[in-house]
Subunit: 360 residues, 2 copies
Amino acid sequence: MRVYNFSAGPAMLPLAALEAARSELTDWQGSGMSVMEVSHRGKAFVECAAETEALLRELMGIPQNYRVLFLQGGASGQFDAIPMNLAAEGDPVAFLNTGQWSAKAIKAARTQGLAVSVLADEAASNYTTTPAAGSYTVDPTASYLHYTPNETIGGVEFGYVPDAGAVPLVADLSSTILSRPIDVAKYGLIYAGAQKNMGPSGLCVVIVRDDLLGRARPTTPAIWNYQAMAAADSMLNTPPTFGIYLLGKILAWVKESGGLEGMAERNRAKATALYGFIDASDYYSNPVALDSRSWMNVPFLQAHPELDKTFVTEATSAGLTSLAGHRSVGGMRASIYNAMPLEGVQALIDFMTDFERRNG
Amino acid sequence: MRVYNFSAGPAMLPLAALEAARSELTDWQGSGMSVMEVSHRGKAFVECAAETEALLRELMGIPQNYRVLFLQGGASGQFDAIPMNLAAEGDPVAFLNTGQWSAKAIKAARTQGLAVSVLADEAASNYTTTPAAGSYTVDPTASYLHYTPNETIGGVEFGYVPDAGAVPLVADLSSTILSRPIDVAKYGLIYAGAQKNMGPSGLCVVIVRDDLLGRARPTTPAIWNYQAMAAADSMLNTPPTFGIYLLGKILAWVKESGGLEGMAERNRAKATALYGFIDASDYYSNPVALDSRSWMNVPFLQAHPELDKTFVTEATSAGLTSLAGHRSVGGMRASIYNAMPLEGVQALIDFMTDFERRNG
């Protein structure tokens, strides 16, 4: 029996992708080997990686002047790798700070010796807001503007793409990639850890515009040097092969489910239902500003916070798992990434209704 | 049908481990979730990682004053991470160069600004030898001595552990870890990409002595900072959860198969059979010095090199795959890591016998 898993990441994956992987786990494509056992430089795996990249390009509409890299080290690794690749020591860079993930990226950029300007900092609202478009100005000499389109802990999401002018826009899309169509051409660099909408942890996808290659500091580790990795088709060293393979299976599921338009429809319906229920309730509440609510991570509080643990325990028994809020903010949180069906959100709403009836 | 897979890595894995993973791929421990879908900070996965570490400690006899880290970026990532963690810019470090993997580690250390001394360089033998014990002296001021106990491309392996005196010995054990007992206490740091004897690619295990923590340069990326990662039980960021889980399954298989003594017996028998056959043949040859032959990677040549492609094609048809030699050295190569049974080596010898009969 499968449960509805509301984990913030690693997170629920499409059952179809897991079942496809299971069916060939010891014998991939009739090779007599698992996909985990084949050489990354062999024809079969090189084709698998190329097909995965092609499908990602097709679904996201990635322009030809962008390179797709399959890296290791997660988004956290990129917090250091991006400054190393895109800026010299002392160069000015700009950040928007909307939560704990932005803050970690800022800290790493400072550690790498950049002159960091934080153009907007939403700490005053306890990270329940995003800065309004036009409320900040990007220094045209900045090497890049970095922001976090969706913060998983606060459940805060930008309702717009920041305008950085000619300054490359860098976005940590770990928790929103593939959740709806985006215009890749607006970004200089997109990066995303796989473990929310793209597969198992251990794979990080970087989508980088050609003109940003070749700027890496000489001390940049080879496996994070974008130009070197682009030249080697992400195989300068052994890539996380199983993650790339499973990403391919998940992309196939996305395509069969209507592509990114289909995902947007699915995710809009889930978010509308859950926020609608919370807003109509006197018992539950969501602390985030209306224009900054995340489609992917919905934190919520109940009128009796002393019952939070009971809520989580009873929900788990009802097959609704991983609903505890992040330890830094408390309460509950429902992460409803691509793989969560509307039925899962409806089951959560039904449980919340019953819990309120019994405890409200 | 499974084949005998002689790939140098990613490589053959124990079928029992793959089947165990398959049986619970969509429902791990009755949780209704795949192990890939659960939070790395949840009780179930934290226990899984702790059990995997405990089993590795038990099998390898890792002393209490060593930390085990589960990292990302492979051994290639550690080529940069080790200098960052263990030496300041300009510090002297020593290397033994026995092949392409040593050379990559040397290049990265130079890139990270270290004063590299190569104490022995086997290039003159075309990397078919290892330096004799006692033929080099380690500068006692060196931050560490780095060597590659087994080179997968040349099929060259040290028959002894170098004596570096009080200088920490650093070893890239990617291709030999778990293949036989070792005395961990002789090393300051051991590292190994998982994709030969430990599991899928994307996981790198670092075993580091306590006193070597806390020396990292401030610019060391957080996810590679040994002290920070040790303090966070390897969960400063999301670890490669599926790789850690599968390592646990593989370690269980190693234990059931007699532990590292059992692996040594198994691997000795395979190597003895294959080298014995090659040495007795006038048709096949192995170029490596007798005292430096690898238990794990056996390169071999045939009297008619123009038939190399035919050999590989016919072997594949016979269910013996990935036998082409590395592109830089040609010929053939049989990688016979832990998971390769003696029956696989015997099947290879039978095929080689028949091939010689038909073409010799």
